[in-house]
Each structure stands twice: as structure tokens, then as C-alpha cells.
């Protein structure tokens, strides 16, 4: 009923105003647990970003058969470029490769020692996803064995980085799930404690003829307000903290791949606020329902 909603809301505000320290403590607890949650959302997002950044620099070198013609090379390049996981393909002629090689060993004066360029032409293949490097390398080696002399990639280090990236991704996901549950538990329990402290009041309300629905209303709205307030406080904290922190890091290590994407950050903040609101409401609902059914027990057989 509309009239009731209005009554519930005004009751909720009056009650919050008069509860004093208990409500403040609950809201603070809710805020802190949401901050922990938010910090780990931000962390996970950044870990994923870092993992992607690191792995995106992994590349495959495809060393070509000396016998390939220019058009064959062109076709082959197109074919690789069209693979879904490949971002770009660059042709490195053996001359350029030899120059680079020589530059790496400048002091050896290789030109004096080695008359002819011993290196082959090659493709430098960049991938979207570092974790597919190994797969693609294997594929190219098998499929184009006729054209290809050798396929190299950053090897063991790549594997380890892949591992880290996978860790960040799946570990992060697991953490988020775990932390959501922990946050849920802490917030619901905190609200439950505040409701339990008011069991006497609930009993009196039942005695003067209030229905469960009527008692539940204001409590649920109180829970919602507590959740939203706690969530809001958490988001403000996270916002300023991240801004400060990210700016500091960026100043110290300019190339550090932090998440600065507004949409991504905003969606994290939205999740935190929403979680606060949902858990506050849910917590109040569960708590008052349990208190009511407990009070119901008081009408003894």
C-alpha cells in the first residue's frame, strides 16, 4: 500500500535518528567491509590489466624458408593476419634482422667474421592474447612446415607469464566470489545484531497488534538506508583513495599499466554501492524475519 510505504519511510528515518551510536557503528562496519570488497575489485581489475599488458608484448617469430617467393610471403602473411587471435604481422627481412643482430653484438664486428648474412627472413606475429602464443606457434609450425624453417617464441618465460596471467584472472574471479560471500555475511550479521538488540521493541509491537508486514517495513527500509549509506561512504573512500594512489604510482612508474578506464572504474563503484544496498535490505529482511519468527515462538503451546 502506498500509504504504508510513506509511513515505513518516515518511521525508518525517525528510528535511525534515535538509534545513535549503534547505527553509526553498523554503517561503519558495512562501509569497511565494502571498502575491502572494492579494494579487491580494483586490485583484480588492475592485475588483469597488468597480466594483459605483460602478455600482450609476447610475440611469435616465424623464420621463413629461403626459397619462398615474394608473393608466397605476401599470401602467407595475409593468412596469418587473418587468424582470429593474431593482432598484427610484421615482415622482417633477413637484412634488417642481420642489422639488428649485428647491433646486439656490436663489439664482435661480425661483418669481419661472417661474410654472408646467415639469418632468414621472418614474421613478427603479435597476438591479442598472450596465452595463445604457444598454441598459435605450434599451429603455424605444423600447418606451414613447408614454408617455415623454425617458429620461436619467448619460451619458458612466456609460459610463466601466462601462468601468472591465468592466476590473476581465475584467482581474481575466485577472490571476488569469496569476498562477495564474506561481505554478505558480515553485513547481514551486522544488521542482524542491530535488529536483535531491538527484539524487545519487536515484541511490544506484536503485543499491540502490529502485523509482521507492518513491523518489517521500517526495518527493511532502515537496512536499505544503512546499506546505501555504508556503500556511499565506501565508494567515496575508494574513489579518492584510488585517484591518489593511482596518480602516485603513475608518477613513480610511468609505464605501469593501471586501470584508468572511467567506465570500468565506475562500474566497480556501482557494484560496491549496489552490493551495499542489496545486502543492507536483505540483511534487514532476514534479521527481522528471524526475530519475528522467534517472537512468534513466544506464543507458546
Amino acid at each position: 500500500m502506498f500509504g504504508d510505504s510513506f509511513f515505513f519511510i518516515s518511521e525508518a528515518f525517525t528510528s535511525l535518528k534515535r538509534s545513535g551510536i549503534m547505527i553509526i557503528i553498523s554503517i561503519a562496519t558495512i562501509a569497511v567491509s565494502l571498502i575491502v570488497f572494492g579494494v579487491f575489485l580494483l586490485l583484480t581489475a588492475n592485475l588483469n590489466n597488468i597480466a594483459e599488458f605483460v602478455t600482450s608484448k609476447l610475440e611469435i617469430r616465424v623464420y621463413l624458408n629461403n626459397s619462398m617467393t615474394v608473393s608466397e610471403i605476401q599470401n602467407f602473411k595475409t593468412e596469418i593476419a587473418e587468424m582470429p587471435s593474431v593482432k598484427s604481422v610484421e615482415f622482417i627481412s633477413k637484412d634488417i634482422a642481420w642489422d639488428v643482430f649485428k647491433k646486439s653484438f656490436q663489439k664482435l664486428e661480425l661483418n669481419d667474421l661472417v661474410g654472408i648474412n646467415p639469418l632468414p627472413d621472418s614474421f613478427k606475429v603479435s597476438m591479442y592474447n598472450g596465452r595463445e602464443v604457444k598454441k598459435v606457434a605450434k599451429y603455424l609450425e605444423d600447418k606451414f612446415s613447408g614454408y617455415v624453417d623454425d617458429v620461436g617464441y619467448t619460451g619458458h618465460i612466456a609460459e610463466r607469464i601466462e601462468m601468472l596471467a591465468a592466476c590473476a584472472k581465475y584467482g581474481g574471479l575466485g577472490l571476488v566470489v569469496f569476498l562477495t560471500l564474506a561481505t554478505l555475511f558480515i553485513i547481514v550479521n551486522t544488521i542482524r545484531l542491530t535488529v536483535l538488540a531491538r527484539n524487545d521493541e519487536i515484541e511490544i509491537m506484536l503485543l499491540v497488534g502490529a502485523t509482521k508486514y507492518f513491523i518489517r517495513g521500517p526495518f527493511i527500509i532502515e537496512g536499505f538506508i544503512m546499506g546505501v549509506t555504508g556503500g556511499g561512504a565506501a565508494v567515496s573512500f575508494l574513489y579518492f583513495f584510488y585517484l591518489l594512489f593511482a596518480t602516485k604510482i603513475q608518477e613513480t612508474i610511468p609505464f605501469f599499466p593501471l586501470v584508468f578506464d572511467k567506465d570500468k572504474l565506475n562500474s566497480i563503484y556501482a557494484v560496491v554501492l549496489l552490493l551495499g544496498a542489496v545486502l543492507g535490505t536483505l540483511g534487514a529482511y532476514i534479521s527481522v524475519s528471524k526475530s519475528l519468527s522467534y517472537e512468534n515462538m513466544r506464543i507458546r503451546k
Partner: protein, 225 residues
């Protein structure tokens, strides 16, 4: 109006507080419930009000059996019964006005009617000046009077008063009892559990005496002893 039928109440700890109670109370009656401390007066009222369920036997209010009353119906039963609790049972975080108003809010009264009826009843018990105080800021007698005001504010057809003058001086007690008599005259069933010998002997009504959970006396226009 109220029929009590071989009622027995054993508390969880095994204590038998009521034992074979049979009682009929008509719609327009005013009944004193007397008996020494621990006789079972409050227990009987609690059963009428469905705070406790009978162990055996039954209570019928307007032919409705409280033994089988579904718990969803209890709030509606309670709205028809005003109760003055022995321990007041005031909401600590609501003002005097709000405590009394709550009994009307649960019944979805309009705001202006709540304001009017609550103001009226608070004047009746002499608490109009304490309207916006909290219960903790009131004297014992003042708290008892809020409880009285709350019980009668919606003119319930049944009024249960458990020691309604225990914290009141003789003059105020007398006024309150006159008020309860007046309410009874408007065809409200009134049951008063009391220790106030003076009042029972002065304002003569039906007296039901309990002892150890049994009715030992039931006399029209009786005295305390």
C-alpha cells in the same frame, strides 16, 4: 463474550500456573481478578491475549477458539483487546504521543484521526504536557498512565488491565478506576487484575479470586477478601 473452558497452563519449566479454570464473562461485565502474588492472574490475562497458548482446555473470545487460532490472525485479535501491562511495555525510542499513536497506526488510521484521538486520551490520563517526552523521562505513575492511554485509545471491545494502579497514588488510582467503569458502561468487557483492596472494596463489581492457579471464589459485587 469470553468463555474459559477447563483451562490449564504449564510453563516450559514445568510450573503449573493455571489449573482447571472455568469462567464465563459476558459482554458488559466488569471483573476484578484478585489473588496473592504468583496466583496466576497475569498468566490468565496472557492467555486471553494469546501471548501464551493453553496447555489444555481452551479460551473462546466471541466464540473464536484461541487454541486453534492461526498465528496470522493474532494481530487482529489483539486489536480488539486493549491491554494495560503490568510492566508497561512501552517502546523506549518513541515519545509518549508516538507510543499511544502506534496502536492506531497498526490499524491504518488516518493521520488527523490519530492526532485527535491520541491528544484526547492523553488529556484523559493527565499527560498532555508530557506528549513529546520519552518513557525514560517519566515517573513510574506517568509511564503506567501512557500504558492505560494506549490500551483504551481505540475503544476496544475488551479491556484487560493487569495491576493498572500499581504505580499510582490513591487519587489518580480512583480517577483511573472511574474511567475504566465509564468505559465498561459503554459495553466494553473489562477485566482488572489488582491488589488494590481499597478499590475493590469501594467500587463493587464481580470478583474472581485465584489461588495457586485455581479459582477459589467468584462473587457478584464481592469484596477483596
Amino acid at each position: 463474550m469470553i468463555r474459559i473452558h477447563y483451562l490449564e497452563k504449564e510453563y516450559d519449566n514445568g510450573f503449573l500456573a493455571l489449573n482447571g479454570i472455568n469462567l464465563h464473562i459476558a459482554k458488559d461485565e466488569f471483573v476484578y481478578l484478585v489473588g496473592s502474588s504468583g496466583a496466576g492472574k497475569s498468566t490468565l490475562l496472557k492467555l486471553l491475549f494469546s501471548v501464551e497458548k493453553p496447555t489444555s482446555g481452551d479460551v473462546f473470545i466471541d466464540s473464536v477458539s484461541l487454541k486453534t487460532l492461526p498465528s496470522k490472525q493474532i494481530p487482529y485479535l489483539r486489536r480488539n483487546i486493549g491491554v494495560i501491562f503490568q510492566d508497561f511495555k512501552l517502546l523506549p525510542r518513541r515519545t509518549v504521543f508516538e507510543n499511544v499513536a502506534f496502536a492506531l497506526q497498526v490499524m491504518h488510521y488516518q493521520r488527523y484521526r490519530i492526532r485527535k484521538q491520541v491528544t484526547q486520551v492523553l488529556e484523559l490520563v493527565g499527560l498532555q504536557e508530557k506528549m513529546s517526552n520519552f518513557p525514560s523521562e517519566l515517573s513510574g505513575g506517568e509511564q503506567q498512565r501512557i500504558c492505560i492511554a494506549r490500551a483504551i485509545v481505540n475503544n476496544p471491545p475488551i479491556l484487560l488491565a493487569d495491576e493498572p494502579t500499581g504505580s499510582l497514588d490513591p487519587d489518580t488510582s480512583w480517577e483511573i478506576m472511574q474511567l475504566l467503569s465509564k468505559i465498561n458502561a459503554r459495553r466494553t468487557t473489562v477485566i482488572v487484575a489488582t491488589h488494590d483492596k481499597g478499590i475493590v472494596d469501594d467500587i463493587r463489581k464481580r470478583v474472581v479470586a485465584l489461588e495457586n492457579g485455581r479459582i477459589i471464589r467468584d462473587s457478584e459485587l464481592g469484596s477483596y477478601n
